[in-house]
């Protein structure tokens, strides 16, 4: 008779360790390593510290003319009805319109001129002829009042972008294309019915097309309305290869000829009166060059400025307070990599995988822990850094572009999410390479170097934009607070803080890199010996 030995088997079912237990184990590993906890605190502090450097190292001052003392601060920037920074400067030929009414006029020419380049704006000078600016505008406008930044709706001809219907600075609808001339004039019409303003355009004065209808909520019963002309500055933007950009230019003017002006509805009697909106006493030459002349039913209007959103440039944006995020990123990338390579170095990985044989779970638990820790720490760091840095920027006279609460939430939460995803990316790369130094360098070079190459002007604009579409650095689009407006003739390149992808699309690129790296890491973790 042979005795059979039954080997001992645990009564516990195999693989009992559920995801919660693995998660708890990984969290315990993280919080009990002193270096990582200290590193996390350092990650928080460096962002605040570098925010302070940014705030203290940025000064802004201006003067109101040569010989006048410099004032710490910035010239006033008007804000539009939705709270965004705008430019609002044009020559306004107006009467008051009570209640409903309409205005119709024919535009027979739109020509340009500019002030001599490089001259002191207060010196007496006369404009010289120049090509009309592509976004020079002239047409009909109904405006809440003559203050800068008030609500308006306007139908206009432009230098190179055809007829447009624009309202409240950001609204823009395209009408018939083509430039205006004596041989091909444009008829424009603007009607007000209650809160609604409708713009029409015609090429022959008989067949009209509706360009756009907009609602200006809370428009007063009596408003100034009439004709306007304006032209943005003539600017040459040069991007220095190897660092920075430079904008040189001179003030430009637009002159438009209107005739057969026809008014309908409750217009006030008397004549037209003119106002140079937004051209101040510090630019007397420009002011005296603006104006209007009337002969019979035809008017010639000359004006300078722009009626448009102000797409950053003269002030600071909220994302400029977050330069320290790169330091936080570096620290969290190091911790994210060490979270897995540390296990390989000490052989701990064999214990971890023996305790929870489902290797995918171990990786997932690590990703959740490092992602969550980074998100929380970054959220606190960003939430502290932004108001603190903005305070010092304001004390030093800098203008900070106003943004909506929703955008602010997107920047704060988006930056925290970006750093969290970057830390998970580091964990995945660390799992793939199993070498700390190589993994840390790979992740930092993949995320930070494209950003530097694209924004510091090392690469020209085109390749910079491609780099910020395909590299993990695309994720930094999440922090862009001022959108690029196509109806403003500015250069919207990475060197000036404009990303080629929309905020969440850019973030999705970083997430895709991370997802790919995680998938490769999970595959290799299961296939390779530990």
């Amino acid at each position: 008779m042979t005795a059979t030995m039954t080997p001992y088997r645990s009564g516990v079912e195999a693989g009992r360790a559920g995801f919660r237990q693995v998660l708890r184990a990984e969290w315990t590993k993280f919080r009990t390593v002193r270096g990582w906890v200290i590193g996390t605190a350092v990650a928080l502090l460096v962002m605040v510290l570098l925010g302070l450097v940014t705030g203290l190292g940025s000064h802004s001052s201006y003067n109101t003319g040569p010989g006048t003392p410099d004032i710490v601060g910035h010239p006033p920037v008007p804000t539009g009805p939705d709270g965004e920074a705008v430019t609002d400067g044009f020559y306004f030929v107006h009467r008051s319109l009570a209640g409903d009414g309409s205005i119709t006029a024919r535009v027979t020419s739109l020509t340009g001129s500019r002030m001599p380049q490089g001259q002191d704006p207060t010196a007496p000078s006369t404009p010289e002829p120049a090509e009309v600016q592509p976004w020079a505008k002239a047409g009909l406008i109904i405006k809440e009042n003559t203050a800068q930044g008030s609500a308006y709706a306007a139908i206009m001809v432009t230098g190179a972008h055809g007829v447009r219907m624009q309202h409240n600075y950001t609204g823009d609808t395209a009408g018939p294309a083509g430039t205006v001339s004596m041989d091909s004039p444009r008829w424009l019409r603007l009607t007000r019915t209650g809160d609604t303003v409708t713009g029409y355009a015609s090429t022959d004065g008989t067949t009209w097309t509706t360009v756009g209808t907009v609602r200006l909520a809370g428009l007063p019963a009596t408003v100034p309305a009439g004709l306007f002309a304006t032209s943005p500055r003539q600017e040459n933007v040069t991007q220095h290869l190897g660092g920075g950009g430079q904008v040189v230019g001179s003030a430009a003017l637009a002159t438009a000829r209107f005739d057969t002006v026809d008014l309908g509805g409750g217009w006030s009697g008397g004549g037209w009166s003119g106002d140079a909106i937004g051209t101040g006493d510090d630019e007397p030459a420009l002011r005296s060059a603006s104006g209007f002349q009337q002969s019979g039913d035809s008017l010639t209007v000359t004006g300078a400025g722009d009626i448009a959103p102000d797409p950053a440039g003269s002030g600071d944006t909220i994302e400029q307070t977050l330069a320290g995020a790169f330091a936080t990123l570096t620290v969290m990338v190091v911790i994210g990599v060490l979270f897995i390579t540390g296990e390989y170095r000490r052989g701990m990985i064999r214990t971890s995988l023996a305790a929870s044989p489902r290797r995918g779970h171990v990786l997932a638990a690590k990703a959740v822990v490092i992602g969550a820790v980074t998100f929380v720490v970054s959220l606190v760091a960003v939430a502290v850094t932004i108001p603190l840095t903005e305070h010092f920027l304001r004390v030093n006279g800098n203008f900070i572009y106003p943004i909506t609460g929703l955008t602010q939430v997107r920047v704060v939460a988006g930056m925290a999410a970006l750093l969290a995803v970057a830390a998970v990316f580091a964990l995945a790369v660390g799992t793939i390479l199993r070498r700390s130094a190589g993994a840390v360098a790979t992740v930092i070079v993949l995320i930070v170097l494209p950003y530097i190459l694209a924004t510091a002007g090392v690469l020209p604009a085109g390749p910079s934009q491609w780099l910020l579409r395909i590299s993990p650095a695309a994720g930094f689009a999440i922090q862009q607070s001022i959108p690029a407006y196509p109806q403003v003739g500015r250069v919207f390149t990475p060197a000036f803080g404009f990303y080629p992808l929309a905020p969440w699309a850019g973030f999705a690129v970083l997430c895709s890199w991370t997802a790919l790296a995680l998938a490769a890491a999970a595959y290799l973790l299961r296939r390779r010996d530990a």
Binding site: S58, T238, L241, G242, T321, F326, G438, A441, L449, I452
Partner: protein, 260 residues
């Protein structure tokens, strides 16, 4: 010292990592320089403002320095990671000698790889740039090492990489951990350019450019508008050298004071 040097050379020679990393230094530097030179477009009437063709052709150093940092950090951090450092100190108890031998061997190798990389960059610039509008007619003679400032920029770039290696060795000796060391080195190299972008006060910018290891060190690459630089080409490289010496000294002192 000679046996220590020989030992360090053997260590670097007999593992595959350093060889691949040295090739990586050359490949990364030349690749980025080629990319930057190839994407440059100059209109027919010439680039405004004038392009610094030499500096542009050497911009691959921005990427190559990261690989150099990895190589140098691993030379020290790798020994701490595996515990090899204790064997090393048993064999050569004079710790300063070990550090000096490591610094000498790694720097020597980086000088060789850096020279190849920089020559590759200059060659790439010489071949590519004339096709992108930087022609003799526009006042851009083909890049040549016979041109004084270009030779200075090229030689300075090789020295720059060597100093980055020394800085990395110093920092790795200080923190004794590869991942932390590489994070510190790359933060030092890449953070200042970003900070310079957001600080608008000219005085602050100037001071930052004067003390930043990468910004000051790379001043040696400039051949156009040298007088406008916040720091001269050679004094800029001197700033980086000061960083490297400081890190090596601090690392060396702690190396003697601490247990391995």
């Amino acid at each position: 010292m000679r046996p220590a040097l020989h030992a360090e050379w053997t260590k670097l020679r007999t593992v595959p990592g350093p060889g691949w990393l040295l090739l990586g230094v050359i490949a990364a530097t030349v690749a980025l320089s080629t990319l930057v030179a190839a994407t440059l477009t100059c209109p027919a009437q010439g680039c405004t403002p004038a392009v610094d063709a030499t500096r542009l052709s050497l911009s691959g150093i921005q990427l190559g320095q990261a690989v150099v940092a990895v190589l140098a950090v691993l030379a020290v951090g790798g020994e701490y990671g595996t515990g090899m450092i204790r064997t090393t100190f048993t064999a050569v108890p004079r710790r300063a000698t070990v550090l000096a031998a490591k610094a000498a061997t790694v720097t020597g190798l980086v000088l060789v790889a850096g020279t190849v990389a920089v020559l590759g960059c200059v060659l790439a610039g010489r071949l590519i740039l004339p096709g992108n509008g930087l022609t003799v007619a526009q006042g851009y003679p083909p890049l040549s090492l016979a041109h004084g400032p270009t030779l200075r920029a090229a030689a300075g770039s090789v020295l720059y990489l060597a100093l980055i290696a020394l800085l990395s060795i110093g920092i790795a000796t200080l923190v004794r951990d590869s991942a932390t060391a590489i994070g510190l080195v790359l933060a030092l190299l890449y953070l200042f350019p970003i900070l310079l972008h957001v600080v608008n006060d000219p005085h602050w910018q100037r001071h930052l450019e004067q003390i930043a290891p990468s910004e000051a060190g790379l001043a040696v690459q400039t051949t156009v508008g040298v007088s406008d630089l916040p720091i001269g080409p050679w004094s800029g490289l001197g700033v980086l050298a000061a960083w490297a010496v400081g890190a090596l000294l601090a690392g060396g002192i702690l190396l003697r004071a601490r247990d391995a």
